[in-house]
Symmetry: C2
Subunit: 81 residues, 2 copies
């Protein structure tokens, strides 16, 4: 059983109101470390058996069509041990 | 300028309707690789200067109080190069 991680983030030029809300809440709580916060999504996908190149191509396809909106988001596919 | 990643995920025993929606949408789109999908959040935090142990302790604290709900979620803090 392998685990695939798909990380989806807004493109840098796209406004991120959730991230901005976090960035402005941090100093109110006394945390001054952040210069910028961006919020994204993370999908943990469990797959049966070995990760094959064909499966990875399928996952890329799913990341592009279902998990992210390629107009405003980018994604990264990672295979976990 | 360093980048800190905070990954927030629902605890395994907590129901994840978003993940379930993705898991049931995948086969409808012809993707049969997934046995389970869990959806979480990901925060990219840019910090000025070096990452110090005191700053990391602050970030842990912020992850616990603002970025995650410790009753139902777990978090991981990662430092990116």
């Amino acid at each position: 059983m392998a685990k695939i991680i798909v990380e989806v983030a807004l493109k840098p030029e796209i406004l991120d109101p959730q991230g901005q809300a976090v960035a402005s809440a941090l100093p109110r709580l006394g945390f001054t470390f952040a210069t910028s916060v961006r919020q994204g999504k993370r999908f943990e996908i469990e797959v049966a058996g070995e990760v094959t190149p064909a499966m990875l191509a399928d996952i890329e396809q799913a990341a592009q069509t279902l998990l992210s909106n390629p107009v405003i988001e980018t994604y990264v596919v990672k295979v976990e041990a």
